[in-house]
């Protein structure tokens, strides 16, 4: 399957509009109406193509279709029958404004990208293409029960309600059932009617019209979003693995729709859940998915007392109505257990409880199913264990008997044995059987007459009964205790995992860290291979792959096809890959890490023989939610920081410009003035004056050159540390280079270079450190009287080289010292044109030295003068001779 078009598509395009031409039976003229509408659209100048039209059309319809461009279709064979499927990629590539696709509810062939046609259509809509489609209303999910009751059989091809409800437009093509019947017969399509009587057609028409009316009513109310509740009602439906549960969910969904209220589906996981047979688990998954599709939020509670858990949940979540199936508990012989419904009524007297009968086509199945669920299986291992324990108990009993202990001791021993059995075995049947067996063995071995099942003493039957009840009770108590401990450990483990994830995520600072923490956590939880794609600027970065064990090669996951699926997930913001309905031939299930519409990455979880159950999915979703939240926070933080840095840079730049424009004016005035004087009346000046003017021009130009050098360094530093071109440099060379550039006034000063050690190497950006030295030495020359002594020295201390520039000038006043490294601070701290320092030099020195990881300080040099010292990292070299 070529998914090139998938990645080629852009995100953020406006959604296309869906128009559904609905009716209640085939032959009503939906396709014809659709084509007529398309013809109008085409005449209005819209680029219209036919994506797919069902094969058996009426002649008029076929004639009408001939005028349109038709997209090529793929012919696929499914179960021996050939079937046409739309070529989604070709359609996306062609990118018409409007596309016509028949039969919204169609099921796709296995090798298609999506399992259902409405998903194809959703993808087209997402790409900004308008779609016209047709639908028979009996394919809508929520009215399945009614359809079942009318037709006597359920419809296989179904679409979720939201597709129908959220369509931009629905046109119901209505026709009298009688006319429809006539028309079908005329067209020799009577076979379609074979299964449908006139009454059935009328009924279908009625529910179709009603469904459309419901949609219209919703539309008028303007309550399109299910989160805005008009009432304070909140409906709860209980999920189970029973086949009849489907009907209950649908009923509850209809009610929630009618009340326009909150809708929650609750699953209570009991200890029996683990032992539930796989088909039941699958059915539960189907039911959960159905509830989800119908707009319910799924919640899971853990506990053995289902009624109590439901009541507790209802109380906490403000549920007002509970929808239940009528559970028919087979009558017990000895004591009658109150049904779930009765218990619920007792526990939640303030709630409305709606009971839906679960009879009908599936009634028998439901009853059988329940039996299956509650007969615990016996394993050979458990039986062996039980036998062994009973044997040991009996042997101990013999010992007691020989020692002359009373029977009470032996009875206690057996009770202990039963308790041990119930703790060490999985099934509660074992302890039940063990109770009986222990009573019998006790009777057989230890009561008179021994080695027979008879008992002489008239008190024995009572003893046996008490013993049986006591061992049964202790046994069941112990097993309950055990399962509770196990359950609470499991719950604690879940809580701990989520808490840990949260904590680790809080510690992670960067996107990479968050992503890798999430990946590690998922690996720990699921023990499956994890592929995680972070995103930057709407693009997937290279994935991080964590392998659970060494069995799979990472190449499997880096396949471009897998990456395309991940890309598809980003574009469509939907899960895809193995175990889902989209692109299911992948080796991973891909989910997006997102908050709302914003996608931050994609996680792939390797598929295995065992699909993720609802609990695992819920953990996965919460971990991904945490991850998305962390990524969002981190992104916000980054943006905030970037904005702050930008603001600071702006501020700096503004200050710089202000100060430069002031400082530039003075030397430029001098240069241009002197030059213009020389140009216009050069002859008037004597040689000495001229020489003075030339010198001034030269000095000012040099000053400007120096300023430009400093500005260049500033701009390099502003762009960040990255711009340091660090290499190992010899300090002697660096200082010599700096001295070459010192102001020509240097001849009036005594510059002394003294180094303590030869061949000291430093890890520096030579250009910048030369600039630092020039600035400091120039400063010393500027602020000390001619004839002063300036000593430049350097020495190594630890990992740093300390370079000092000392002068014996007047020194720096105490109050100025803290500020001299500030930008735009000048010793005189007032605008003094004669000195022309824009106070950039030392600030720049500080930035450069700090960027190298060093420090710059100033101190007094006794008896007068100052010492500037800065440190830079020392370098090492290995000499090969």
């Amino acid at each position: 399957m070529g998914t090139a078009a998938v990645s080629a598509r852009m995100t953020g395009r406006e959604q296309g509009k869906l128009t559904i031409f609905a009716s209640y039976f085939s032959g009503a003229g939906k396709s014809y109406a659709m084509l007529e509408a398309a013809e109008r659209a085409r005449q209005a100048g819209r680029d219209t193509v036919i994506g797919l039209l069902a094969g058996d059309q009426w002649p008029q319809t076929r004639a009408l279709a001939e005028g349109f461009e038709t997209m090529p279709c793929r012919t696929v064979t499914r179960g021996g029958r050939s079937d046409v499927a739309i070529d989604l990629d070709a359609c996306l590539e062609r990118r018409p404004q409007l596309i016509l696709i028949d039969e919204l509810s169609h099921l796709n062939a296995d090798d298609s990208r999506h399992s259902k046609r409405y998903q194809d259509i959703e993808e087209l809509l997402k790409a900004g293409i308008d779609v016209f489609t047709t639908l028979d209303v009996q394919h809508i999910e929520s009215i399945q029960d009614t359809v079942l009751s009318i037709l006597g059989a359920a419809v296989v091809e179904r679409i979720p309600d939201h597709v129908f409800d959220q369509a931009a437009q629905v046109e119901f093509i209505d026709i009298e059932p009688k006319r429809l019947q006539q028309r079908l017969l005329q067209q020799k399509k009577g076979e379609l009617l074979a299964s449908c009587s006139l009454a059935q057609l009328s009924a279908l028409r009625e529910i179709g019209l009603r469904r459309c009316a419901d949609r219209a009513a919703q539309y008028i109310r303007g309550a399109q979003s299910s989160t805005e509740f008009r009432t304070h009602e909140h409906i709860l439906v209980c999920l189970s693995s029973a086949p009849s549960n489907e009907k209950i969910i649908r009923t509850a969904a209809r009610m929630a729709n009618a009340f326009r209220c909150g809708f929650t589906a609750l699953f209570v996981e009991t200890k029996g859940f683990q032992g539930m047979p796989q088909p039941d688990k699958d059915r539960l998954q189907t039911n959960i998915r159905l509830a989800q599709q119908l707009g319910a939020s799924i919640e899971t509670m853990y506990g053995d007392d289902v009624a109590y858990q439901i009541a507790e949940f209802s109380r906490l979540s403000g549920v007002t109505k509970i929808v239940l199936g009528r559970s028919e508990i087979p009558r017990r012989l000895f004591f009658k257990k109150p049904s779930l419904t009765e218990r619920l009524i007792e526990l939640t007297p303030e709630l409305d409880i709606h009971i839906i009968p679960d009879t009908g086509a599936n009634g028998r199945l439901a009853a059988r199913h329940r039996e299956v669920m509650y007969i615990p299986s016996l394993s050979v291992l458990d039986l062996l264990k039980s036998t062994l324990i009973l044997l040991v108990t009996t042997l101990a009993g013999f010992l007691f008997y020989e020692l002359g202990f009373t029977e009470a001791n032996i009875i206690t021993l057996y009770i202990l044995g039963v308790m041990l059995i119930s703790v060490s075995t999985k099934s509660s049947v074992c302890s039940f059987i063990a109770s009986i067996v222990s009573v019998l063995t006790f009777n057989f071995f230890f009561t008179d007459p021994r080695f027979s099942l008879h008992a002489y003493d008239s008190g024995y039957p009572v003893t046996f009964l008490v013993m049986f009840l006591a061992s049964l009770l202790t046994g069941s108590l112990a097993s309950k205790l055990k399962s509770h401990a196990k359950r609470s450990a499991q719950v604690a483990w879940r809580t701990k995992l989520l808490f840990e994830t949260d904590q680790n995520l809080q510690k992670a600072r960067t996107q990479e860290e968050i992503v890798s923490v999430t990946a590690k956590q998922l690996l720990r939880i699921f023990q499956r291979d994890i592929v995680i794609y972070p995103m930057k600027q709407e693009r997937l970065l290279e994935p991080e792959i964590l392998l659970a064990d060494g069995t799979a090669s990472p190449q499997r996951y880096t396949d471009p096809k897998e990456r395309e699926i991940a890309q598809w997930v980003v574009t469509n913001n939907k899960r895809a890959g193995a175990g889902t309905e989209s692109l299911s031939d992948a080796c991973c299930t891909y989910l997006s890490i997102r908050t709302g519409e914003q996608v931050y990455g994609v996680v792939g979880i390797a598929a295995s023989d065992k699909p993720l159950d609802s609990f695992e999915t819920s953990i996965l979703l919460s971990v991904l939610g945490e991850c998305a939240l962390a990524l969002e926070n981190q992104k916000n933080l980054e943006e905030k920081e970037a904005a702050a840095v930008l603001a600071k840079n702006e501020q700096l730049r503004a200050n710089l410009l202000r100060s430069i424009s002031h400082d530039l004016r003075t030397p430029l005035t001098s240069i241009s003035g002197n030059a213009s004087n020389l140009l216009s009346n050069g002859d008037l000046f004597d040689t000495k004056t001229k020489e003075q003017m030339y010198t001034d021009i030269y000095d000012d130009a040099m000053w400007l050159i120096n300023l430009v050098e400093n500005l260049l360094s500033v701009s390099r530093l502003e762009e960040g540390r990255m711009n340091l071109h660090v290499s190992t440099e010899l300090m002697d060379e660096v200082v010599a280079e700096a001295l070459r550039h010192i102001n020509r006034k240097r001849v009036e000063y005594h510059l002394i270079v003294q180094n303590s050690e030869e061949y000291l190497l430093a890890q520096i950006d030579a250009k910048l450190i030369v600039q630092v030295l020039i600035n400091i030495i120039d400063n010393a020359i500027k602020y000390t009287p001619p004839g002063s002594e300036i000593r430049i020295g350097w020495k190594r201390k630890g990992d740093y080289i300390y370079v000092s520039v000392a002068d014996n000038g007047p020194g720096i006043p105490e109050q100025a010292k803290p500020h001299i490294f500030d930008m735009f601070y000048s010793a005189s701290n007032q605008v003094a044109d004669s000195r022309r320092s824009m106070g950039l030099g030392l600030a720049l020195c500080k930035s450069i030295v700090n960027a190298h990881g060093g420090e710059i300080t100033v101190a007094d040099q006794p008896p007068h003068g100052s010492i500037f010292t800065f440190s830079v990292p020392a370098g090492e070299v290995v000499l090969h001779e």
Partner: protein
């Protein structure tokens, strides 16, 4: 000394005027070209002895001009660069330029570079440097055949690396050699550690060679670029 013919390649008129004025004032003969194409044409038709080449030309990169000129001629090229990044200079030097000047440069500096190049030319014309058995530069004498060096008649005690370095510099006298070039020649590679080693060897060599290490006579340092052996009269 016979003043050589110099080709000035510079697109900025004031700078070109500055250079030509300076050259005229010092009795140099010169040609001018304002772009790369004209430069290559002038160089091939007039065969100048030295080229002063601005790197930022309107029609092509200066480095390209160097490549073109080097395809047929060995004439010394001094690069003038306004870009303060060292990499431009290094690229130009590695492409075959002999020396460089960074804008803003002083007139004295320009003249000094020209003199250096002239001396180099003179040495080249005196006979191929590399073919010589004995190299003499001021008081420095290197006897390639015997494998030893003398300063002021006294033998210098050099380590093998120092000697190799000295030979390399001598054979390229007057030319700025980049770090990469030197390390490639001596160690056959150019790693971070090699450049650092080079600095130390250069410092020790210099200590043995120079009377006053503070103001070197023979070996010039070009921070961030490389080293050069000066031609000493």
């Amino acid at each position: 000394m016979n003043k050589p013919l110099i080709l000035v390649v510079e697109d900025d008129t004031p700078i070109r005027n500055l250079i030509t004025t300076t050259l005229r004032a010092h009795d140099y003969r010169f040609l001018t070209a304002a772009n790369g194409e004209a430069a290559v044409l002038e160089a091939s038709s007039h065969n100048p002895e030295i080229i002063l080449l601005d790197l930022g030309l309107p029609d092509m990169d200066g480095v390209e001009v160097i490549h073109k000129v080097r395809s047929w001629s060995n004439m010394p090229i001094i690069v003038i660069s306004a870009r303060s990044e060292d990499t431009d200079k290094i690229d130009a030097l590695d492409a075959g330029a002999d020396d460089y000047l960074t804008k803003p440069f002083s007139v004295e500096e320009l003249l000094a570079r020209l003199r250096v190049t002239q001396r180099r030319l003179a040495a080249l014309q005196g006979g191929a440097v590399s073919a010589e058995v004995v190299f003499t530069n001021g008081k420095l004498k290197v006897d390639y055949a015997a494998g030893c060096a003398f300063l002021d008649g006294q033998e210098l005690h050099l380590t093998p690396s120092e000697y190799k370095l000295l030979c390399l510099l001598c054979k390229n006298v007057g030319k700025v050699l980049t770090y990469t070039f030197i390390t490639q020649q001596i160690w056959g590679r150019s790693w971070e550690n090699d450049v650092a080693s080079l600095r130390v060897f250069m410092a020790t060599l210099r200590k043995k060679l120079e009377r006053e290490p503070g103001s070197p006579q023979y070996i010039q340092t070009h921070i961030g670029v490389g080293y050069r052996m000066m031609k000493v009269e």
